[in-house]
């Protein structure tokens, strides 16, 4: 019997129309967009659907939103909750000990290692929500942010984790963006946006780059439906 392996790009309805070939394992993908573009929902939905079907495990680290609030948000978007995607809530830690935090990247590394010990080889997926919150916790006096990000991304690669890093565009440059390091050290960038289309505002996604994968360069409209994120059609903007 031929076993058909589930691909990441088959995990959201319509995403396999944007991608011709799959996102390769151990890639680091930045998912960026302004507020309200459903970045958290997109990443959580993509990973939870995939992990359920592929018998794998992952960890979703939230630095800003409480676990309960995040889950309620996912529920309101019709996104199914998966126990295979463990939410590691660092927001409470931030509230309690932010002023005493020394090495947030080191802590994320320990967190990953402990999950890996629990789930073994089946643990292979990682999400960080969000890079902006991570920057705010870094000690920029000690080591330049670019160096710290290299170390972080390098650790994710060494652990062979397929990673999705959420980056909120605020219109104000973050220290990392000032240095412009992310586009170079990430394997992929997916932009989520919100534009006027056919007389109403719609959400869209555009794959700006994805190493070793064939994909469309055009924006694609997506919707939040009662069963989660669905990619509808290629957008035709003026």
């Amino acid at each position: 019997m031929r076993v058909i392996l589930m691909r990441l790009i088959d995990s959201l309805e319509g995403l396999n129309r944007v991608f011709e070939t799959d996102i390769i394992e151990s890639s680091i993908v930045i998912v960026e967009g302004v507020e309200g573009t459903a970045k958290s929902g997109f990443v959580y939905n993509l990973l939870s659907n995939y992990l359920e079907s592929a018998d794998k495990y992952g960890v979703y680290i939230t630095l800003e939103q409480r676990k309960e609030s995040h889950l309620a948000n996912m529920h309101s978007m019709g996104i199914p909750i998966s126990k295979r995607l463990v939410i590691s809530d660092f927001s409470e830690y931030r509230q309690k000990f932010e002023h005493k935090t020394q090495d947030i990247i080191g802590m994320i590394e320990t967190n990953i290692m402990l999950f890996k010990e629990r789930a073994g080889d089946k643990f292979g997926y990682f999400a960080l929500d969000s890079l902006g919150a991570l920057y705010s916790l870094l000690d920029l006096q000690e080591t330049p942010v670019r160096k710290q990000m290299y170390r972080f991304f390098d650790a994710l690669r060494q652990e062979q984790l397929t990673s999705f890093i959420i980056l909120e565009e605020t219109g104000i440059a973050t220290p990392g963006q000032v240095l412009g390091s992310e586009p170079y050290i990430a394997d992929g960038i997916i932009e989520l946006g919100m534009r006027r289309h056919g007389g109403r505002f719609t959400r869209d996604l555009r794959v700006r780059k994805m190493r070793a994968a064939k994909h469309s360069m055009e924006p694609w409209i997506f919707e939040i439906t009662p069963s989660g994120v669905v990619i509808r059609e290629e957008a035709t903007y003026d």
Partner: protein
């Protein structure tokens, strides 16, 4: 950098992760509720954080948030811990966190209970990782640290401490004043919570410097508060080949059951509750006692005999050992130690004048007489 290069220690423990700062114990919890507060799991200690398992994730405590550790709990609380977990070994960790509204800092407590060896291992690693950097500004001297350590071991008697300080009363007075000024100990030579934390962070360093062998006889000299007014229960067993004898013996007669000239080996075992002596003829003598100072004194006397060190070379030490056993007759002391009775009396007079013993040759049991150094 690989994630796998991190320093990681794991401890299987029972713990209460977030108790309000426990000042006087667990009394504010209903006893039936304490049971529900305990969690079980593998605690992970890295060089920067403590990770406490919580459902499918972890509660994380940065080591920099730890204010104090190693604080003692009152006996009533220890009893509650034992009743609800079955363990007698505990480790108290107090830490600072922001209040829920983030307006100010509050102190919270983690209470760990478990096997003695696990608690000790965790304590040693925490001591190494936390270090004494937070106390650097206190500028404590080696003497101050030594004195604090001795006080933490319950050795508080001024006359004994003067001996440890090489007879220099002024040096002892200065160190005691430094400790009080630094709020590490009280006027009555009891350690404060800060003092306990300092000692916990110090780990076993001082014990190493003083030599473990030095602490046992000193404890023998200073039975401390815990043993006052309590009669020790001592059991002696003798075995050789198929022959075996056992019986209860009064402390002051225990020395008669040790064949000093033919001792081949002597050991203190079972956490200091049993003395095991083997003779050159293959007999084994086991002495059990409810009073550790009794066994420590016997150990000291027996070891000197085994190593053929004349008692006369350290008369004060061995006379004190016999006094701790309750042997006060100068003729008997003279016979056992092979020191002339006149010299025994001379030593005892000196000890009386130094306040180590009273006129009846009883060891002064009241602790905390250091206060006189004010």
């Amino acid at each position: 950098m690989s994630m796998m290069n991190k320093e990681i220690h794991r401890y299987d423990l029972t713990y209460i992760p977030d108790a309000p700062y426990i000042v006087a114990g667990l009394y504010f919890f209903k006893k039936s509720d304490i049971q529900d507060l305990w969690r079980k799991g593998t605690i992970v200690l890295t060089d920067t954080e403590l990770w406490l398992p919580e459902e499918d994730q972890w509660n994380i405590l940065p080591l920099t948030a730890i204010e104090m550790f190693g604080r003692t709990l009152p006996t009533s609380s220890l009893r509650d811990v034992h009743d609800t977990t079955g363990y007698t070994s505990v480790l108290v960790v107090d830490y600072k966190k922001q209040s829920s509204f983030g307006t100010h800092e509050v102190i919270s407590t983690i209470l760990f209970a478990g096997e003695n060896v696990t608690i000790m291992e965790m304590r040693v690693q925490l001591a190494r990782l936390l270090g004494l950097s937070r106390y650097a500004e206190l500028n404590l001297t080696e003497d101050d640290r030594k004195l604090l350590y001795l006080l933490s071991e319950g050795i508080k008697k001024k006359a004994i401490l003067v001996m440890v300080f090489g007879g220099d009363k002024e040096k002892l007075r200065k160190s005691f004043n430094n400790l009080k000024k630094a709020e590490l100990c009280t006027k009555s030579a009891d350690l404060t919570s800060k003092g306990r934390d300092f000692i916990a962070r110090l780990g076993r360093m001082i014990e190493g410097e003083l030599g473990e062998d030095a602490i046992a006889p000193l404890k023998g000299l200073d039975p401390g508060d815990g043993n006052e007014g309590r009669e020790a229960v001592n059991t002696v067993s003798w075995s050789s080949g198929k022959s075996y004898m056992v019986g209860r013996v009064e402390a002051e007669l225990l020395w008669q059951h040790i064949p000093f000239p033919v001792v081949a080996d002597v050991k203190l075992s079972d956490m200091g509750t049993q003395l095991r002596i083997t003779t050159t003829y293959g007999a084994t003598i086991r002495i059990k006692s409810t009073s550790p100072p009794v066994l420590m004194s016997l150990f000291d006397l027996t070891q000197a005999a085994r190593e053929k060190i004349p008692y006369a070379s350290e008369p004060t030490k061995h006379i004190t050992n016999l006094l701790a056993l309750g042997v006060r007759d100068t003729t008997i002391i003279s016979d056992i130690l092979k020191i002339t009775e006149s010299n025994v009396k001379k030593e005892l007079d000196q000890m009386v004048s130094e306040g180590v013993v009273n006129r009846k040759y009883e060891l002064m049991a009241d602790a905390g007489d250091l206060d006189e150094t004010d």
